[in-house]
């Protein structure tokens, strides 16, 4: 620990911290532009100048390591003058266009010039003008405003792992650009918009939409992937205007993926806002009473074995729970399922479907083995953690398949499951490496769990790791990478049926009534089934439906989601559902009331407490089923990673125009790449 003085306050800080961090610990705020906790130190904006005793000049506190006995002053006239001077230089070339700048109201330069700057300009010369740059469909540039803090360059190089941004030219002519002005090829690209302290990089889809003080801000949870990134949803009236990250060091740190940020315009399009009934192949508007009546008579006139229910990928846990209750108590069947394929899942123990090492754990891992997973597209934020681990610890990463560019170097194997068997049988060189690794991580993707031999592979991998004593109090090396926000929550609630194969039954048209809750990923040829679709967006599921019940999207209702690590988090209502649409749990509750004259739950609170109680009971009665696979007839399979199209992975993203543009920008680039 180092002892130093900041404005005559004694502080003790850890070794390796900078003067700026020491000042922060002393409760002294230092203005800065280029410094950012998550990025490397550049020290080029000079805004953080402070006075240090025995130094003839002010020092840049962000780049100066704190040392024993330092005496730092931040409130002297020298510091004040230095800040004014720096501010004046920064503003020399910065246009005074705040009224037409999207950053206005949340601009570091604006705020700091109010606090630390001078009130008039002595600069009479012409200001520098810089042409706009093309950075793709998400980032709008106005490079005249750039103050060359290089945060964006450092972010792209370090965190995103796509070194495509750079500063060309020198001095006054310096410009930030992508290489030959191509769009940035990263799923994290739009984070540079948050990082930019001025209005040089702003959000293209949000351009001139609203001012920050007009927006209602709701802190909630993202559902675009299973990470459960913490986000802030900004709404103006009903519309979700934008989505921003909030800091959660255990999950998304400070970043969110482009899909999380920009799929929100999908909440405005293709919405289901009133109940519909299909007559002669055409949808007609109906009232809630009418549709409930039809559903009631259909359910009453169908034997309960012929009724099935499927829960989708964005459904919150309350809805899944009440849906399950509805099936068990009102319909009296267990034909419910949350998977959209026949992937192997053993819910007898939570460990079997969680990302057990945890996202933070990635940074401690010393060997990462990817089996049938492409984290770049399946869990972008998690991939950024793997990259961080690679950068900090030079972690060895091996993938069974060649996944293309994952933003870090990795060794790829042949993509055959017999290689996994070799690892399990201790005949592969990786077996030794796993054995010698202190904290190995095996990340199993959903693609592997879809294989015929999934059960064998999963259980034997577990046995193998057990044999090598890799499970300990604080480390569980086996991880399942879920792709969808609802997956883990649904499994915790037991919304699946391992006794029957409901997906196969559905495909062979064995059911008479199919109830889909936000489930759009089932590919089945509809024959005579009566399909009820409840959801927020008109997509595949609603297309084949006979009755549509308009539900709410994730920003329009409170709801719990469990992320892939098993962390339960609550998403809050930021907006309200459009038209006659209702919250999802409410629809089921009303339907149950209509059928039995009794509500399933009196109110949301009762539902919440009942669900949380169920989860608690489940977590207490965890038992390990023993699977003996010694005589299993293993046959080799070619493991192909099937991932959903990144920009169209769910109904919200599918309805988003921005996502379509992103996809176009990406595919255009690809086609020119193959020509050259």
């Amino acid at each position: 620990m180092l002892k130093l003085k900041v404005n005559d306050i004694d502080v003790e800080v850890e070794e390796g911290l900078t003067v700026l961090q020491a000042c922060e610990q002393a409760g002294v705020e230092i203005p800065r532009f280029c410094y950012h906790e998550k990025l490397s130190i550049a020290g080029n904006c000079r805004m953080c100048l402070v006075e240090m005793e025995k130094s003839p000049k002010p020092i840049a506190s962000c780049a100066m390591p704190a040392a024993e006995g330092m005496n730092i002053k931040t409130n002297t006239s020298l510091v004040e003058k230095a800040r004014k001077g720096v501010m004046e230089f920064l503003l020399a070339n910065h246009p005074l266009d705040c009224p037409v700048c999207d950053q206005g109201g949340e601009c570091d330069l604006q705020d700091q010039s109010m606090f630390y700057g001078v009130d008039k300009s002595r600069f009479k010369e012409n200001k520098r003008a810089v042409p706009e740059k093309n950075m793709g469909p998400l980032i709008k540039t106005q490079m005249t405003r750039c103050i060359h803090c290089t945060r964006c360059v450092r972010f792209a190089t370090e965190v995103a792992g796509v070194p495509e941004l750079g500063a060309i030219g020198r001095g006054e002519d310096m410009q930030i650009t992508t290489y030959l002005e191509q769009s940035m090829q990263s799923e994290l690209s739009a984070n540079v918009v948050d990082l930019c302290p001025v209005g040089a990089l702003t959000s293209k889809p949000y351009v001139f939409e609203a001012r920050p003080w007009e927006l209602k801000k709701t802190e909630t949870i993202d559902v675009m992937d299973a990470i459960g990134s913490n986000i802030r949803v900004d709404t103006y009236d009903w519309e979700v205007k934008r989505v921003l990250p909030i800091i959660n060091e255990d999950i998304n740190e400070e970043w969110i993926s482009d899909k999380t940020r920009y799929a929100c315009d999908g909440l405005l399009h293709q919405r289901l806002d009133t109940p519909y009934i299909k007559y002669n192949g055409k949808f007609e508007k109906a009232s809630w009473q009418e549709v409930y009546k039809i559903i009631k008579s259909k359910l009453e006139n169908t034997s309960k074995e012929k009724v099935s229910g499927f829960v989708g990928d964005l459904t919150n846990m309350e809805t899944a729970y009440i849906f399950k209750e509805f099936f068990e108590r009102t319909v009296e069947t267990d034909n419910y399922e949350s998977r959209s394929d026949n992937r192997y899942i053993n819910i007898s123990k939570r460990e079997n479907y969680l990302f057990n090492s945890s996202i933070n754990g990635i940074e401690d891992a010393d060997l990462i083995l990817l089996l049938g997973a492409n984290p770049r597209y399946e869990a972008t934020i998690l991939n950024a953690r793997i990259r961080k681990s690679y950068l900090n610890n030079n972690t060895k990463i091996v993938s069974l398949n060649d996944c293309g560019d994952l933003t870090y170097p990795y060794e790829s194997l042949d993509g055959q499951t017999k290689t996994i068997k070799e690892i399990i049988d201790d005949t592969h060189k990786l077996s030794k490496e796993i054995e010698s690794a202190k904290k190995p991580m095996i990340i199993i993707g959903e693609s592997l769990l879809r294989l015929e031999n999934a059960q064998y592979l999963f259980n034997n991998l577990k046995d193998f790791l057990n044999k090598k004593n890799k499970f300990s109090e604080d480390w569980n090396p086996l991880n399942v990478l879920s792709c969808d926000a609802a997956t883990v929550g649904n499994l915790d609630l037991g919304v699946l049926n391992n006794k029957k194969n409901l997906i196969e039954d559905l495909k062979s048209n064995k059911f008479e009534i199919v109830f889909l809750i936000g489930q759009d990923n089932l590919n089945f040829a509809k024959k005579n089934e009566f399909v009820i679709y409840q959801g927020s967006h008109g997509n595949k599921g609603a297309e084949c439906a006979d009755i549509i019940l308009p539900g709410s999207a994730y920003t329009e209702q409170d709801g719990y989601y469990t992320n892939l690590e098993g962390k339960i988090q609550k998403a809050f209502k930021a907006s309200y559902p459009p038209g006659d649409a209702k919250e999802d749990w409410q629809i089921i509750n009303e339907l149950a009331e209509f059928m039995n004259n009794r509500k399933l739950f009196n109110d949301k609170e009762e539902l919440d407490s009942s669900m949380l109680n169920y989860l608690k009971l489940q977590s207490e009665k965890q038992t390990e089923q023993n699977n003996n696979n010694s005589n299993y007839d293993f046959n080799n399979e070619n493991l192909k990673i099937e991932i959903k199209d990144y920009y169209f992975s769910n109904v919200v993203a599918k309805s988003s125009k921005t996502m379509i543009e992103c996809n176009n920008a990406k595919t255009n680039l690809k086609s020119t790449g193959t020509e050259g």
Partner: protein, 202 residues
């Protein structure tokens, strides 16, 4: 000075020839393993030498691949340093120093001569495509100001007439004699004085 942009007409590809490759490998070998990117400046210069004194984009890409670094990093370096030419220059590349000492001694007259003899604007090829000129910062020959550099040779103690003569010779394909044009040898003092022999007006 403004931001230098790469030329519009770019060759499709670039590769080191045998001698450049040898030189490049020699330079890369000077740096520890994994730090080969430090060789980027020298390699850009080698590429410029090989490619008629300018660096095409293809060469930057080639060097980036050669040193296993991102394209943009090589591009940053090439645009930062003004001695890398990003667009074609003449076979005779005239660089006129216009930094303060030369400017005081009449460098703008040299520039006028260049404008008359070679081309109206900087970095523009002459009518026979053999020659181009540009203003540069200090070339370190202030004692013999004003001066200019043509390819690898310095021409010093110039004025407008002498510059015009030199440029005429070049445009005719001759090679004028480098060095002082007022008869000085190296940097010796003018009017025959040897330093400090006579303290008066030293």
């Amino acid at each position: 000075m403004s931001l230098r942009k790469p030329a519009k007409d770019q060759p499709e590809s670039f590769e080191f020839n045998a001698s450049s490759l040898e030189a490049a490998n020699n330079i890369v070998a000077k740096y520890p393993k994994g730090k080969q990117q430090s060789a980027v400046m020298a390699l850009l210069y080698i590429a410029q030498r090989q490619n008629n004194n300018w660096i095409p984009l293809a060469a930057m890409k080639y060097i980036a691949k050669f040193l296993d670094m991102p394209y943009i990093k090589v591009y940053e370096v090439a645009t930062f340093y003004t001695m890398y030419n990003l667009s074609p220059v003449g076979k005779y590349f005239v660089q006129v120093c216009t930094t303060t000492p030369c400017m005081i001694r009449g460098a703008n007259k040299l520039v006028e001569a260049c404008k008359e003899k070679i081309s109206e604007n900087e970095c523009e090829l002459s009518s026979d495509n053999s020659c181009s000129w540009m203003e540069v910062e200090c070339l370190g020959a202030c004692v013999t100001a004003p001066m200019m550099q043509i390819n690898d040779e310095y021409y010093e103690d110039l004025d407008k007439e002498k510059t015009s003569e030199i440029l005429d010779k070049i445009l005719n394909g001759e090679t004028p004699k480098p060095g002082s044009y007022r008869g000085r040898i190296n940097n010796e003092p003018e009017n025959n004085r040897k330093t400090l022999t006579d303290l008066k007006n030293a």
